[in-house]
């Protein structure tokens, strides 16, 4: 196999349509696939082309139907026993073959732990660029190329990336950022069964077993209230107070990267550029100064409260409500106030 090349002056006009790679696990389509359909639909409409979802797996008829209802014009359903569980080798081969044969203009992949394994392997086999972890996608009004915006330097900087001379234009898209497609039960689309050219020996790195961790799930992405702690807690015990506070509000505990790096809390709680991106109804940042890397993961929250001793902390720049003070005084006071809410609200 010889290495593909880029920037070879290919005919860009041969490439048409928007594809999304619809990730499923255990036959169930992931939310990110619906987000990609939402975003893909917009791009396809803007370009006046079709939106195709590529679905790999085994025994997933329902999933294919679902993709149509969520806006796919076409679904390429590749059903094979060897594709039941994701493997880099299997999925790369099948999707690369399809892209080479059908020449889509844009391919979007979810920036999940799997998408980020698959995306670069496909792009480098085909010989095209890939932009990682995009948070915004637009079509350039002048020449129709895809403008792919993503955070860099830990979210300190936003960069818009283009792939001018190679096709398809490929992006992985950060989960939780794009708006999900609307479900329409009456929507119709083509579901095409594709027979893959894949053999057992194509898969070199094999999955022996899939283990679901039993550790308590920190479901930050779906939480409607998140109380996060940072270095300002001063010590790992501070998270006990955060936990108590979160429990009182019916929320879950998040954290900054600094707190995780200090070993105060497990990385599964981390919110931010390198952690989970969240968009809760209420986000309370306690003792978090607001490194951009953190802000990148929570600034879209509906209501942000910041509690910090330092009035100059950057977190206050994005907070809807800022409380300057010692969190060890403020949080207990808030918890008391909640207990006493009826009386307090009556007074006012």
């Amino acid at each position: 196999m010889s290495k593909a090349k880029v920037n070879q002056g290919i005919n860009l006009d041969e490439y048409k349509n928007v594809w999304i790679i619809a990730e499923q696990r255990d036959g169930k389509v992931l939310n990110i696939a619906l987000e990609l359909l939402g975003e893909g639909r917009k791009l396809a409409d803007k370009l006046g082309v079709e939106l195709t979802a590529v679905l790999l797996g085994h025994n997933m008829d329902e999933a294919a139907e679902e993709l149509v209802k969520y806006g796919a014009d076409n679904v390429l359903k590749v059903d094979h026993e060897l594709l039941k569980v994701y493997t880099t080798d299997g999925y790369t081969k099948v999707i690369t073959d399809l892209i080479k044969e059908r020449k889509p203009e844009i391919v979007l992949i979810g920036a999940t732990t799997i998408g980020r394994d698959l995306g670069p392997r496909i792009a480098s086999r085909i010989g095209t660029g890939l932009t990682a972890d995009c948070t915004r996608l637009e079509i350039d009004e002048t020449d129709g190329k895809l403008l792919q915006t993503r955070p860099a330097f830990g979210g300190n900087l936003m960069a818009t990336i283009v792939c001018p001379k190679n096709r398809p234009q490929m992006s992985t898209v950060r989960p939780g950022v794009m708006e999900k497609a609307k479900y329409n039960v009456d929507r119709k689309g083509n579901i095409e069964k594709v027979i893959p050219n894949i053999k057992d020996e194509d898969i070199i790195a094999k999955v022996l077993e899939v283990i679901k961790t039993e550790k308590k799930e920190v479901n930050l992405a779906d939480a409607s209230i998140i109380v996060s702690g940072g270095r300002g807690l001063g010590n790992p015990e501070g998270f006990k107070l955060i936990e108590e506070f979160a429990k009182k509000l019916g929320g879950v505990v998040g954290s900054s990267r600094a707190a995780v790096d200090s070993g105060w809390i497990d990385s599964s709680h981390q919110v931010g550029q390198t952690g989970t991106t969240v968009r809760p109804k209420l986000y309370i940042a306690c003792g978090i100064s607001g490194a951009i890397q953190h802000l990148a993961g929570m600034s879209e929250s509906d209501c942000i409260i910041a509690i910090n001793k330092n009035p100059d902390a950057p977190i206050f720049d994005i907070a809807h409500y800022s409380i300057v003070g010692d969190l060890y005084e403020i949080i207990p006071a808030i918890m008391d106030a909640i207990d006493d809410a009826d009386n307090i609200l009556k007074e006012i």
Binding site: D117, I161, T274, A337
Partner: protein, 265 residues
């Protein structure tokens, strides 16, 4: 056994600040560090060396001459040899071009059993270079490795590959490319022995484009399929409200009232 670890020297993004007037990054005074995930990759290679006989660990980096510091740090942690790829022709490389250059260097090194990278670098956060190297060298890959066992007798590795809600237990023959995540291990410190006996006595090899067999049209800015169209500083959208009060209790009361007004609580 031969392990090559690819490391990148990066600015510590925890320390990066922004000049809000000019909208640019303030990189001055920001310490340069070995990219954290790469350090986990290096640690794992060194652990394999601790356990197995006859393992050599080579660290490979592409960057400006000052990236030697990162390589010295790797030597002080216990790596056997270090190679820096440095040339103006490499400047402006995107992940494709970077992976092209690194894989050319890996081909020159040859005979590796494991190529180890960090999952992603904290300055670019792309997580693409590892898989792209694997593709160019036609190697199997296991990314997001959180646990690793090397079975030298059967020339294979067994790895836990982390996913959002658990992990895959995976097996691959060697040679293989692996990418490490934080959960894999805790990197060791530079030891005093490493600092005095290895880091400053082991020569760091410097390779330029002339030392590599590489297609010049596929490296640097002109060999990159992706280009930066523009960069900008994320903007703040609004002015928030400061909840005033003499005592913590006053502030807590203000908080409660706002939450009720907005029907959040």
């Amino acid at each position: 056994m031969k392990i090559v670890v690819c490391v990148k020297q990066v600015p510590d993004t925890n320390e990066v600040k922004i000049n809000h007037e000019t909208g640019t990054l303030i990189r001055e005074g920001v310490p340069s560090i070995i990219n954290p995930d790469d350090k986990n990759a290096l640690e794992e290679a060194l652990r394999i060396k601790d356990i197995h006989k006859d393992v050599t660990v080579t660290v490979l980096s592409m960057g400006p001459p000052q990236a030697k510091e990162a390589l010295k740090e790797a030597l002080a942690m216990g790596a056997d040899e270090a190679i820096l790829l440095t040339d103006r022709a490499f400047a402006g490389s995107d992940t494709w071009a970077t992976a092209t250059i690194l894989s050319a260097a890996l081909s020159k090194i040859g005979d590796y059993d494991i190529v180890f990278c960090g999952r992603q670098a904290i300055d670019g956060d792309t997580a693409q270079v590892g898989p792209e190297i694997a593709e160019f060298l036609n190697l199997p890959q296991i990314t997001y490795v959180s646990n690793l066992e090397v079975d030298e007798d059967n020339n294979k590795v067994i790895a836990h590959r982390s996913i959002e809600d658990g992990y895959f237990v995976m097996e691959s023959k060697m040679p293989v490319l692996l990418t490490a995540i934080k959960d894999l291990n805790t990197p060791r410190y530079m030891s005093a022995w490493g600092i005095f006996q290895n880091a400053n006595t082991t020569e760091i090899m410097e390779w330029t484009v002339d030392d590599l067999t590489v297609d010049l049209t596929q490296i640097g800015l002109k060999g990159s399929p992706t280009n930066v169209y523009k960069t900008f500083v994320p903007t703040r959208k609004f002015e928030g409200e400061i909840l005033e009060g003499e005592t913590p209790q006053d502030k807590a009361r203000e908080f409660l009232v706002r939450m009720k007004e907005r029907h959040i609580l």
